[in-house]
Each structure stands twice: as structure tokens, then as C-alpha cells.
């Protein structure tokens, strides 16, 4: 019997836990789900004979370590900042760890200790980061095995609302951490184009977009992620001319988001005194240059838009010109905006999400140029088994199985860029209907 510990039973856990329970009998697993809320943990295990639920506080060092020591493998869905703590306990207890988070500097520092302890700390095993690494590396390793040379790598991913439920003028609903969406791009972005390093300051990130077509799903637009160049080394792209990673939105979203940036609504430093006593209209007016014109006129003038156009209607629809109260105390503009958007961009019960990923790879082979366009589209099953929960959770679940079977024999801090990990994971995802499809570029 192998014992698996899942830390965290939040929104990203259902598909992961379902997989573990479905395979528990066959694989002889026992699964413990631990969460701050024991009730939530209990709900996730659905009276399974192979699982138990327990309360858990990451701060409680003694029980944390006891819990980890009593299992063979840990899957952590806790906030990224806690992963180093968990990893340290895993090393001390000689247990493997899987996360879906980026390898932090603190995590990387544990590499030596983990190797010495014979422990695998496998990170970046969700969707993005996760499936993106696996699928991109599979495509590129295949090209390289034929002696092809990669000249351009572009990769895009977005968490969106499924088209049937795409019912608002922004063509967007929250399917993931809203705060990350509000603060996205809040720093200069870096990428490489035509062998040149390029930067995009925050004030232009949502203007300098590119169109991304996905067969059967229409055209999206992509804005640049913070640091595309950090992928050059792990992906072996030092000789590629172009390396760009971006986030996908429906067309028109980015221009309107830039309007919110220009207005100042994404600033997260200014604390608005008495924000609970002002209306959205007052906040918008306060952010505009003074003058006797109406708030509407000044807003249109600032953004260079017309009151009859789509862009203005989108802002109006959000309610930033309404007499609704901002309603939260000591809010920053970004916090106020998040509070508003969580109402306006809510994925309602019964509505489904959709994740879209696309790799665009150019390469030369025997003197000829080639392009690959490989896309993944996954829709949610329902509001629990969302596309996000599936694409983040299932790769981790499959990795857990591989590790416990002894199919992955690596120690130290890793991400799933190696074939012995990505191949079986992508194969099994494919069997579950999470499949990339290629188009002629």
C-alpha cells in the first residue's frame, strides 16, 4: 500500500482527487486529503474507502511533519509561498513532492539536499506551467531527433469562458485567481524577436498584442508574459531567433483592459481613504483630469474613444460610471476593480470554462523551413470539474502514479521537461481526451 498526501482541497483539487480515488483500488493507494477546512477535504473524498480527510494548518510544524512522514508522496496545492516549507519537510522525511508552481529561488536551493536525500521535488506540473512544458518539449525533442533546428518558438495559453457561456461584452469571465488577472502585466515584459531582446513596458503590454488563430475556435489575441526569455535555457532555445510566451484573451479584451490601466484602475499601491463611502462614478471621476466636462466626456477624451463606440460601452457595462458604491474599505484601485469584476465576470453555476493553449514552432530541416501549430482546447465538465481543475490536477496525478510505480528515477528539483516524464503523462492525458491537435501553419 502506497500512501498519498494531498495538501489543499481548493478549486484546483477536484479532478486530481477524483483521479487518485478512481485508481486507488487498482494501484493499492491510500489517499489523505488535508485542508484548512476539514469539511471541504471531506467533501472532496466522497466517502471513498481508499481515502481519509483531515484538517491541516501549514503553520503547525509538528502535525505538518507528522502528516508528511506518514505518507509516501506529497502533492501540494498550497499557495506557492508555502512550498519551500513543505519541500524541506519532504527532504527531512525522505518523501517525494509534486507541485504545479514555478520553481522559486528558495525551492531551487533545495536541489542538493533533495538529491542527497534521494527525494524528487517535481514542480511546474500543472497546466501553465506544466502541460506547456511537456507538450512543447515533446514537439521540440521530436524535431531535434530528426536533426531539425528550431528557429522560432511561440507559446500561448489562456483560461477563458466556454463559447456557449461567453455572454458579456468583454468575452471574459474569471476561471482562475482574479487577483492575478488584475495585476497581470504589472511589470515590463521581456521576449526575443529576430535574435533581439525586446522589452514591453506595462503601459504598452496590452497594446502590443498578436492574433492567435485556433482551428474551430476562432481568433484570440495574446499579450506577452512577463519573462519569455527565462524559457530559453530549459527549452534549449539559445539558437532560436524568436522566443515569446503570451496569454490568450478573446479579441478586443486587451485594448479595453489597457483603458482600465490608463485610467489608473490597476494600481495596487494607492490606498483610497474612505473608499467604502464613494461610488464607482466618483472613483472614475477622481482618476480623470479635473475640468467641468462630464465624467463620460473626460473619460472618452482621455482614452481617445467615442461615447457611441464598443470600447466605451464595455467600460459602461462594467459599472465604473454607475452610482454603485465601491463598497470595500481602504481599497486600492486594483482591489476595488477586482471586487467589481468578481461580480461582473462571475462564471455562474452551470457555466463552463475553457482553456486554450497553442505552440507555434518554426524549424529548418535539411535546408527547408517548416512550421508546426499545435493546439489544445479543454472545456470544463461542470463547475467542479472545470477545465482548469482537470488540466492543472491531472498531470500531477499522473506524475504521482509514475513516481510511485518507480517509472521516474530522478532526484532533486525538477520540472517535467524530460521525456521519461512528459511522454507517459501526455499519452495518458490523450487517452482522457486532453489532446493536442496540429494544424498546417
Amino acid at each position: 500500500m502506497k500512501k498519498i498526501l494531498v495538501l489543499g482541497a481548493g478549486l484546483s483539487s477536484p479532478a486530481l482527487i477524483r483521479y487518485l480515488l478512481q485508481h486507488a483500488a487498482e494501484e493499492n493507494w491510500n489517499v489523505t486529503v488535508a485542508d484548512q477546512s476539514p469539511a471541504l477535504a471531506k467533501k472532496r473524498i466522497k466517502r471513498s474507502r481508499h481515502a481519509s480527510a483531515t484538517g491541516f494548518s501549514a503553520e503547525d510544524q509538528t502535525t505538518r511533519k507528522q502528516l508528511i512522514a506518514a505518507h509516501d508522496l506529497v502533492i501540494s496545492l498550497l499557495p506557492p509561498a508555502l512550498h519551500t516549507l513543505i519541500a524541506e519537510d519532504c527532504i527531512a522525511c525522505g518523501k517525494h513532492l509534486i507541485t504545479a508552481s514555478y520553481i522559486s529561488a528558495g525551492m531551487q536551493q533545495l536541489d542538493n539536499a533533495a538529491r542527497k536525500a534521494g527525494v524528487l521535488l517535481l514542480n511546474e506540473c500543472g497546466l501553465d506551467p506544466g502541460i506547456d512544458h511537456m507538450s512543447a518539449m515533446q514537439l521540440m525533442d521530436d524535431i531535434r531527433s530528426k536533426s531539425g533546428k528550431i528557429t522560432s518558438f511561440k507559446s500561448f495559453c489562456g483560461g477563458l469562458v466556454s463559447p456557449e457561456f461567453d455572454t458579456n461584452p468583454w468575452n471574459y469571465k474569471f476561471t482562475w485567481n482574479p487577483r492575478n488577472v488584475i495585476l497581470a502585466g504589472n511589470a515590463t515584459a521581456t521576449y526575443t524577436e529576430n535574435k533581439r531582446i525586446r522589452f514591453i513596458p506595462y503601459n504598452r503590454i496590452f497594446l502590443q498584442t498578436e492574433d492567435v488563430k485556433v482551428k474551430g475556435y476562432g481568433t484570440f489575441e495574446a499579450y506577452a508574459n512577463r519573462d519569455s526569455n527565462s524559457y530559453i535555457k530549459p527549452y534549449g532555445l539559445t539558437s532560436a531567433s524568436t522566443v515569446l510566451r503570451g496569454t490568450l484573451r478573446r479579441k478586443g479584451f486587451c485594448e479595453s483592459w489597457d483603458h482600465l490601466i490608463q485610467l489608473g484602475l490597476t494600481d495596487d499601491t494607492l490606498i483610497i481613504q474612505s473608499s467604502e463611502h464613494i461610488t464607482w462614478r466618483e472613483l472614475t471621476e477622481a482618476l480623470l483630469p479635473p475640468g467641468t466636462n462630464s465624467t463620460e466626456k473626460k473619460l472618452c477624451h482621455l482614452l481617445g474613444i467615442t461615447p457611441s463606440g464598443k470600447a466605451f460601452k464595455k467600460l459602461q457595462w462594467l459599472g465604473i460610471l454607475s452610482n454603485e458604491p465601491v463598497a470595500i474599505p481602504r481599497a486600492t484601485p486594483a482591489a476595488a476593480l477586482q471586487h467589481l469584476l468578481q461580480r461582473k465576470w462571475k462564471l455562474e453555476e452551470g457555466e463552463l470554462d475553457m482553456i486554450v493553449m497553442q505552440h507555434q514552432i518554426s524549424y529548418t530541416l535539411k535546408g527547408k523551413s517548416h512550421q508546426i501549430k499545435s493546439s489544445l482546447v479543454v472545456k470544463g465538465e461542470d463547475e467542479t470539474y472545470t477545465a482548469m481543475s482537470k488540466t492543472v490536477g491531472l498531470p500531477m496525478a499522473i506524475c504521482a502514479k509514475l513516481i510511485l510505480k518507480g517509472a521516474i528515477r530522478q532526484y532533486g528539483v525538477h520540472m517535467p521537461t524530460m521525456a521519461d516524464i512528459y511522454k507517459p503523462v501526455l499519452d495518458e492525458l490523450d487517452q482522457m481526451g486532453i489532446s493536442f491537435f496540429e494544424e498546417k501553419a
Copy 2:
């Protein structure tokens, strides 16, 4: 004999130390100047019989406390972050403290302890903050004493180059901490206009300027400081319609500075890998949208300027299109820009600085409206006794004298908004030629 301890012998210390030494015999003072560099401390005391110099490290708790315990009053010119530490020692040893820094949250928390210990922690006693508080409060207390009601308060201050040495197209040279200049306005600004709270996002702070005329010195332009509204309470301005504080520059500076912001050169988060190997032209090109046009053309297009105009010539003069190397490793754009500007905007030996301050106050008295425009212009004597050093250091020196004479009988955390402080300080500054003059507004 009273013993005064001056912590820090840097650029802001010379006028302060000179004053203390000039008055030492008459006042029966002994002055200790302590600095990380004992040589610098020694240089400042110029073999005075009334002074000694010593090395000093703020981190060395034991000697720090011994030094403070051996004096009657401490004047700290250390970096603001260290002032709470010094203040704690002052409370423990029962010694008064003077600083020119803003009252931090940590300093404010010491109020009770200082009162109990009978210790005065007098902060914000330099120029801005410092002389601004004193002169504004004197004007406003005078108006209020006649039952006038203040309706509008605007106050501006800038450290500039003296007109005789104003020889570059930006009409600006560094006379103070360059890093603060580079990062100025790097957050949403807040002020009040016509009874309405107003915000200015960073992307508009240098565009939403206002002209400020100073008789005999021409027209300046002012951009809004970060938080004008924090002055409402200490200045008793709750019933004023307008409260604005701003920073002065020569006309045309702000528009060009906004160009640098738009280009992305004031970002301090992005670390440029291999920045020591790239040229300024390459950095500027990297920050522009990609495309086959020349860097010059793209820059002009982005900013909406022409290659023959003044704005473009100012950017060109800085060298951001040159093949000069950026020359520093792991630089942020802001760090690279600072490094460049410290060469281009250097106040050369023999050149003088100038500080300019102006208060604009509107009030009603017996049913009639009145305006006051009160200005201060101070030029440096030479590169040691700069206008900055005089206007920052002398108010602190005079406060020290008042405290040691027993003329200020306050305990706890204070700033110089009370008449028993500002009146004697402003009177003595006036005798020294640091005098406000009023104009008909």
C-alpha cells in the same frame, strides 16, 4: 556645557555643522560629528576646538548607544530607515533627537514612550519637509488669527540648478539624491481640488502639470507630489477646497520626463541580463515596438514627436540613441538611466544649486477673497555650502539651539508646525538671508 551629536557627515551636513561650530563658543557647546568615514567627519569639523570627529556604524548597537548616552542632543542625518533605531536609543538614554525625515509609522509608534521619557523626537525639520511646514503654518496661523478662512492651499518646492549654470537642454542638474529623482511619481498621486479628492496615475503625473511663476525667476512647472492629502490634518485644512503639493522643474522638463516614462526607462523591476554588454541605442531599440523602421523613427512615432523638434533633441542629447555602453551589470532600466543621467546632469565643480519654494494660499476674510503668494529662493554659496545643505541643515541647527536653551518644551514625536518652533527658526533664517518674499497673486 551641552554636547551635541551629529550622526552623518554627508552632503547635507556642511551648513549644519558650520552653524554649530560658529555658535559653539557662545552657546558653550561641544559637537561630535560621527560618520561611517572618520576622515569625512574630521574634514567637516575643520580643526575646531569645540568639536571632535569619530567613526560610527549604525549597526554597532553598543557604541551607538554609548555615543548617544554621552551627549545631550542628537541630530541624525542618517538614511531615514535608521531613524527609528536612533530614536529608540534616544528614548532609552533620555536624549532629544532632531531629523529632517518624514515621520514614519515606526517613528510615530514611539510617541508615547518618548512622552513618558520626557524626550522630544522632532522630525521633518529640513527643507521639504521642514521649512515648508514652518512657513506655511506661519502664513496660515496669521490668517486664522484674524478669523480668515483658508479656501485653497498649494505649495511647491524644487531643487534646481542656479540660472547662471543652467546650461543643458533639460534645464536640470542633480542637486540631491538622483535615485529619488528617477523614481519620482512612481505611484498614483492624490490631492484635493474643488472639494473633490483627485488621483493622478503615474502615466499622467508629468502631463498634468501647472505653471508656477516666481517673481524675478521666471516660470516653473509643477507636478503633483504623491500624497498632498496627508497635509490636510496637520495643517488644519479640512475645510479648504483645494490642497495640492507639487515639485518644481523648469518649463518643458515634465513633458520630456514623461517621454522617458513612456519609453519604459523609469521601470525599476526589470533586471536586464547582460546589461553591461549593450549600448544605449540597443536598450532604447529593445524598449520600442518591433519593426523595420529606424530606432529614431520608432521613438518619434511612439511619443508623437518630430525628429526636428525640441523634445527629440533633448532625448538625443541624453545619449539614449548613442552607441555608448550602458556599462553597469544587471541594471534595471531605472538604474541604467540614473547611471547615464548622473553623467549628463552633473552639477560640476564651481556650479551652484538653487532651491525654490512657493506657497499659494487663498482665503476669505470679512466676506472678501484674498490671495497670498509667498516664495523663497536660495542659491548655494559653493559646492559644499549648497542651497540644499543650507536649507536642510540650518533649520535643524536652529532647532537644536532652541531645544538646548529650553525654548521648546514639547515631548513625544513632533514636526515643526507649532509657533514656538517655527517662529524663532524662520526669524533666524531670515537674518541669515533665507527669506520668503510675498507677491500680489
